[in-house]
């Protein structure tokens, strides 16, 4: 346990992602975690690349983009404190479905996807709690994406 660890535990426990997680699970997760402080403009991962880390944002904001030939990097979502990004390293093939770049100085908790998977296999209860939280993040993300797709503020949607 490094000097960072007690700090890491505290920071992780204060995120909404970790809300309700029993301390023993928090400690297990921290063994797979490191604290990351990044300046504005730092790329955390690249769309299409295979990455191992999943990130919980403690403070600051991260912009997610996808690359469309002819349109360049198209931003579609901003993630903020309590949000989870890079979930593809835990679920799916591990190839990132977006590029993530911080928009301001941010503090993140980076978790190793492979080590988390090992922990989950070994502890079904921890596995359930982790997956439940990831599912909640994704469901929230999906709703937001659908609402963006509906283009509610377009001509037919806005109040007259």
């Amino acid at each position: 346990m490094t000097m960072e660890q007690p700090n890491l535990l505290k920071i992780l426990s204060e995120t909404r992602f970790a809300d309700g997680l029993p301390n023993k699970h928090l400690q297990s997760i921290c063994r797979a975690a490191r604290l990351l402080r990044v300046p504005a403009g730092q790329r955390l991962f690249q769309e299409g690349s295979a990455e191992d880390e999943i990130f919980v944002i403690s403070s600051g904001h991260v912009r997610l983009t996808m690359n469309v030939p002819g349109r360049g990097e198209v931003p579609f979502l901003t993630a903020g404190p309590g949000d989870l990004i890079g979930w593809s390293s835990v679920i799916g093939e591990g190839r990132m479905t977006a590029t993530a770049v911080s928009t301001e100085d941010s503090t993140l908790i980076a978790l190793s996807g492979s080590r988390l998977r090992e922990l989950c296999h070994g502890d079904a209860d921890l596995g359930f709690e982790l997956m439940k939280r990831i599912a909640q993040v994704l469901s929230q993300r999906l709703l937001s994406t659908r609402l963006q797709l509906l283009d509610l503020f377009g001509d037919a949607g806005a109040k007259s």
Binding site: T78, L147, L152, A158, K159, S160
Partner: protein, 288 residues
Amino acid sequence: MNLAAASATANPHNPWLAHTVRIDRIVKETPGVATYDLVFEDAAVRKKFTFRPGQFNMLYLPGLGEIAISISGDPNQTGRVPHTIREAGNVTRTLAELSVGSTIGLRGPFGAWWPVDECVGRDVVLVAGGIGLAPLRPVIYDLLSDRERYGRVTLVIGAREPAALLYPSEYDDWIRAGLDVQVTVDRSVGTWHGNIGMVTALLHRLPLPDPGNTLLLTCGPEVMMWYTVQGAMERGLKAESLYVSLERNMNCAIGLCGHCQFGPQFLCKDGPVFRYDKVASIFKVDDL
């Protein structure tokens, strides 16, 4: 013998009678959206006119018809009455061609208003989507005119894209006056460095130290309001502390023509502002 026959104009409160107002100022806000400051020609009417935040007027273009427009100005200021209007049909498009000095008709104010009194001593979250910020701006002015009476006040604004954000020049004033202003857009364009995503995502992340004692007022597309309200309740706000502003076809605005009904509610007199629990059971019934 039954002879009581009150002639219509002898009744000073004939609800069909529109007052003459003059367009005093036009501010182009965003593409297709402008704010019209209206002034009553009759000085006595001008002095007497007051409104509560969330109320609307029927603006009348003779020969074309009336439209229901929320008042978007400061309820503590008399004289000019601002209305932010989006071009959507015949009446609004013709209005957009009028110039300062033109006269139109006005009936109002009508409708149930936002519960500013209930906000005293409590935290308040305002969630505005698109032009839904216009009917909420009077609340902002009201709260900021006496800031210490209220707890944390947060304004979450959503728009289609950065150019569609309403009243951006006022955000810094509001922040300085004690409002936490958070802005998000559905899609980013060029140099936008702010949030991208729906207001629900921002609401999800909002620090709410005392959700059981927090009010939320929201105005925008119905789908947005629905998910805002659901998200608020997931964060621990009570259904009786949530307020929405609904919209339906408005014709007479005085509860006599039947057009604006939504279940048992007449939007012109029971609404357009509703406490959420009063409309919860019918909110999601298709085609009601």
